[in-house]
């Protein structure tokens, strides 16, 4: 059994080694907390990439791992492994196995079911990050501190922090999700605290009226197109966003007609 650590690089390496040796995989957490700890398991860190490359060369497979195509796959895996679905590990492993067996193009260009599934996970996670980067609203909360509530389904908090850190390099950032406040200070480390005090501060901000006025000012009524709006801003966010109620009002006007 090949044991991997809780990061994408280790998982990817373990998948390649497991494929080469015809062995199975287990995570370090699984190994520590279940009966698997009584089974023999090799830590994937014991294999070097030079060694793996040598084994792959002998089988004449997987040379894509060491060029740009491998980087692209790792990029997809990085996001896909943050998905909330439990079967993400098997989907990612299937994609890597297919790539080793038949070549990576079928995965990268989504011409196979394995590739399509991997891209689905990637798209869901990447879509959430992209949406949150735009839709999160910060509130100044103390000296050099910005706090915001986020609506997350996947494990993406550190990606968001990295994005907002670039945008606000001098601020302490607080993202509140599911009652927990994730705080990123000058050290760039993320730590957790109770979220409710920050939620109160976020609720009490009254700058929203400026946004509401501006948002209405930008709307061109003659071009009303709620189908397009629903496509570009998913309905699950309508109730969460301040401007969502204005979109809903427009929708109700249509229903009344």
């Amino acid at each position: 059994m090949i044991r991997y650590h809780n990061n994408m690089g280790s998982f990817f390496k373990a998948c390649v080694v497991a494929w080469l040796l015809g062995d199975s995989l287990c995570s370090e957490e699984e190994w520590n907390t279940t009966l698997l700890q009584f089974a023999p398991a090799t830590d994937v860190a014991q294999y070097s990439w030079e060694e793996i490359q040598h084994m792959l060369r002998k089988r004449n497979r997987g040379q894509w791992i060491f060029d740009g195509r491998g980087s692209r796959l790792k990029h997809l895996l990085l996001y896909a492994l943050r998905h909330r679905e439990d079967k993400k590990y098997s989907i990612c492993k299937n994609a890597i196995d297919y790539g080793l067996q038949h070549g990576i193009e079928g995965i990268l260009y989504k011409t196979t079911e394995e590739g399509k599934e991997l891209y689905r996970l990637y798209r869901n996670v990447f879509g959430e990050i992209h949406a949150m980067c735009g839709l999160v609203r910060f509130v100044p909360s103390g000296k050099n501190t910005l706090a915001a509530k986020v609506q997350l389904e996947h494990d993406t908090i550190d990606f968001l922090m990295a994005y907002f850190r670039q945008r606000y390099p001098d601020q302490v950032l607080i993202l509140v999700s599911g009652g927990i406040a994730y705080i990123c200070d000058e050290s760039d480390e993320i730590y957790e605290e109770e979220g409710s005090p920050f939620e109160e501060a976020i609720k009490s901000d009254d700058f929203g009226q400026f946004w509401e006025i501006y948002y209405k000012a930008q709307y061109i009524q003659e071009r009303k197109n709620l189908r397009l709006t629903a496509k570009v801003i998913r309905k699950k966010y309508w109730n969460w966003l301040q401007e969502g109620k204005l979109i809903l009002e427009e929708e109700q006007k249509d229903t009344r007609k």
Partner: protein
């Protein structure tokens, strides 16, 4: 006047300006707040489906110009307002800090003179860049006819600058304004910007046309925009359908939104699909065909060039095939080196719009669709036809020279 009221008036006055927020310009690094992103981020969408990414406002909607297409022209009896540079800076900083917007898009009516209004606008940008050390995206409208020193300053402080050309020629401008000189005020200013940008390649220039206000044809817009791309090295052009205003209603309003859409499609074909000018199909009246997009019009009028074998087609052929865009073209070119393309599902997964592409392609020597399937508005049958059947059913022999 209250700040909220000003925001409402000057936000509404700017809503017909079109812009995007992406930039790979990294020259304002080490800033206290704000960053640019090459892919841009949308911060909301209005019920018309348009994205809000920039804080898009006018410095003032007071204007001495008489442009017939403009909501803010001097003849209109509408509430007028003006931000002071400080008010605007504070408001923008609040919007940006709270992550409501991705950057600033600042335009203005011309109050007193172009130079005087430009001075106010430059003060705003300067305060953001220097006092607040803002490193994010700023798009500044250059007012027609302003001094070259102001353009130079704007280029030094912004990520993007633009002048709205509005119409394709002076003949059209004369119909809409008695005060604006197309050659001097518009083309002259675009030329001055272009000259400045030669020294600073990180900043880009765009422009905007108002579509349908002066009775111009698509062909005239096409000729004008091609000239701008070639002569002035413009990054891109935007098109905005004319919104009729009270005293200026002698304009045909039919199809303006469709027309705007077709012009965007034409523009993308020019910039990203390497279409040559002689490949666009215009109707006898000088307009594009509004029933089909320009690429489909090209394909249908050049059926002798289709169907193409996806396994062997060149990049140029792929890019001219309906349903295949630059990204799916790249994927096809890459994957066909190692995998034989045999199935429409493969194409679908690669991002090809199969319904549109099917009548124009061959996979493994077989065709999968008929031209008339496109007009049915239903899913094509994907029945497999032999080449002979395909030729018989799709090619209009009359159109072959």
């Amino acid at each position: 006047m209250e700040l909220l009221e000003k925001l409402e008036i000057l936000g509404t006055a700017a809503k017909f300006d079109v812009c995007a927020a992406s930039s790979s310009n990294k020259r304002f690094q080490g800033a206290s707040f704000g960053a640019v992103s090459p892919s841009g981020v949308c911060h909301s969408f209005t019920p018309d489906g348009r994205c809000i990414s920039l804080f898009k406002v006018l410095m003032t909607n007071e204007c001495e110009q008489d442009c017939g297409y403009c909501q803010n022209n001097c003849y209109r009896d509408i509430p007028r307002a003006r931000f002071t540079p400080d008010e605007l800076v504070q408001l923008f900083v609040q919007f940006y800090t709270r992550n409501y917007v991705e950057g600033l898009f600042l335009s203005s009516g011309i109050r007193a003179s172009s130079n005087r209004t430009m001075e106010d606008m430059l003060q705003v940008v300067e305060r953001l860049r220097i006092k607040h050390r803002f490193g994010g995206y700023i798009h500044l409208k250059i007012l027609p006819g302003c001094e070259e020193s102001m353009i130079e300053k704007a280029v030094a402080l912004c990520n993007r600058v633009s002048v709205n050309i509005e119409v394709p020629s002076d003949r059209h401008m004369e119909k809409l304004s008695r005060k604006k000189d197309f050659q001097r005020d518009i083309l002259g200013t675009i030329g001055k910007i272009s000259k400045q940008l030669k020294h600073d390649r990180q900043v880009t220039q765009t422009t905007q046309y108002v579509v349908g206000a002066a009775g111009e044809t698509d062909r005239e817009i096409f000729d004008s925009v091609s000239q701008l791309y070639h002569t002035y090295n413009l990054k891109r052009a935007y098109y905005s359908a004319y919104q009729p205003i009270a005293h200026h209603s002698a304009v045909k309003r039919d199809n303006l939104l469709v027309r705007e859409n077709r012009l965007y499609q034409m523009d993308f074909l020019m910039r990203q699909y390497q279409f040559r000018s002689d490949e666009f199909i215009f109707e006898k009246d000088g307009n594009l065909n509004y029933k089909v997009d320009p690429k489909m019009a090209y394909a249908v009028n050049n059926m002798h060039l289709f169907p193409i074998d996806l396994q062997r087609a060149t990049e140029a052929q792929l890019l001219r095939t309906p349903g295949i865009g630059p990204a799916s073209c790249r994927r096809i070119l890459q994957i066909r080196k190692s995998v034989k393309l045999t199935d429409l599902k493969q194409l679908k997964h690669m991002g090809v719009v199969v319904k549109r592409a099917a009548p124009f392609i061959l996979l493994n020597g077989k065709s999968f669709g008929r031209l008339e399937d496109l007009t049915k508005g239903e899913r094509p049958l994907y029945e497999q036809l032999t080449i002979e059947q395909f030729m018989k059913e799709t090619i209009h022999y009359d159109s072959i020279p």
